[in-house]
Amino acid sequence: MANNDPFVDYLLRLGDNSLVLGHRLSEWVGHGPAIEEELAVGNVALDLLGQSRMWLSLAGEVEGQGRDEDKLAYLRDAGGYRNLLLVEQPNGDFAMTIARQFYFDVFHHLLLGGLSRSGDPRVAEIAAKALKEVDYHLRRSGDWVVRLGDGTEESHRRMQTGIDDLWFYTGEMFESDAVDQHMSAQDVGIDPSTLQPAWRERVAATLSVATLDMPKTSWTQRGGKRGVHSEHLGYLLAEMQFLQRAYPGASW
């Protein structure tokens, strides 16, 4: 399900990252380690869901084929999703969820900062709004990386495992393809490869304070941005889309 318009693809990537990660986080609701984290994880999920709605609505508008946010969210199969592999990875333990969130938040913050200066005002205004929320997301996940890393022996071990196990999904965030290059040349999008030095620097600074080791492998797993996903996304969509698939057009 390729889109001819790179702008639509670009917007789907933005919307799908937020939608899939928001859905993953919502799986914690009812299972949080403490009431405060229960609320925090639900709030972050809600922010991401709201951001996703704005990106997907704009994608549908630009595409101009009558697909709105709901059709895009509920009626695309895994191959039509454009999110990064990182955000669809299962929650694991709390440290794994935090590692995934931290990697994404640092990237998301840099990306939205750049997009808030986009030449397309519709992109710029969504990014500027989302950026303020992501400030809070980053403070929370960064704080947890430090607290767990520089915590007990067990929390340190778990945090290091999360950081290590998800590392090879981080390279994909910075791989620039034809869609990225086109949108960046149009002054609408950002070439993600330009964000990598700042991302590495920020991640390294936090890991160092957290007494954690920065992973050294350079091999990267890739595919999400062009619709080639890990097996996990199918299960996630099966749950998220169930109602609309079983009862098309249902609403309340």
Partner: protein, 198 residues
């Protein structure tokens, strides 16, 4: 800011009265924008009912547009947080409130830019929050993440809404709604909500 409330006696919505040959019969007396603002002040935020949507800065503009059946009152609102589930209810309440005052042609417009900030909250809104038991937002927006600084630092402007002490601590920057954080007072020992700066 465009959304600054118009002064008393602002011009009536729909231009000068009686200049309309078609004769607008939908509203007995054409309300001024100032009146519409006043009506909207009676609409509470669904999640923090102590404060109105006007005092929160959600209503950005009240204006008028022409429609096929006559002038339409246009109310421009902005979402607080992207995922705030109260926005739909706020839109419904605006409509039903204005209909209750006799306005028939109403259009709601959502504006994203500039993004909503707690700096738009009115002095009255801040005071109502305090009396309701929620510490009002500090003027400064979000502090950037710095790994060297444990974030459970407290903005000096935050005071316990119950005893007024500034000796407070942050429990979590996320609370029962998107717009609130959880704090605790070290003096009176009470936990309280803080309407966080955005």
């Amino acid at each position: 800011m465009k959304a600054a409330r118009p002064p008393e006696g602002a011009r009536p919505l729909g231009g000068t009265a009686r200049s309309d040959a078609r004769g607008d019969t939908s509203v007995a007396t054409k309300p001024t924008a100032g009146q519409v603002w006043q009506w909207l002040e009676a609409v509470p935020d669904p999640e923090v009912p102590a404060v109105s949507i006007v005092d929160l800065g959600i209503v950005r503009d009240v204006g008028e547009d022409s429609g096929p059946e006559g002038p339409v009152t246009v109310v421009t609102i902005t979402p607080t947080y992207s995922g705030c589930p109260a926005m739909d209810m706020i839109a419904e309440q605006i409509e039903s409130t204005l209909r209750g005052h006799g306005l028939e042609r109403i259009r709601l417009v959502t504006r994203l830019s500039p993004p909503w900030t707690t700096d738009w909250m009115s002095a009255k809104g801040r005071e109502s929050l305090r009396q309701y038991g929620i510490a009002p937002p500090a003027a400064q927006s979000v502090i950037a993440f710095d790994p060297k600084q444990r974030i459970r630092v407290v903005d000096p402007e935050i005071e316990c809404p119950l005893c007024g002490s500034a000796n407070v601590e942050c429990i979590s920057e996320f609370g029962s709604t998107s717009c609130k954080a959880q704090y605790r007072c070290r003096d009176c020992r009470e936990p309280f909500d803080y309407f966080k700066a955005l």
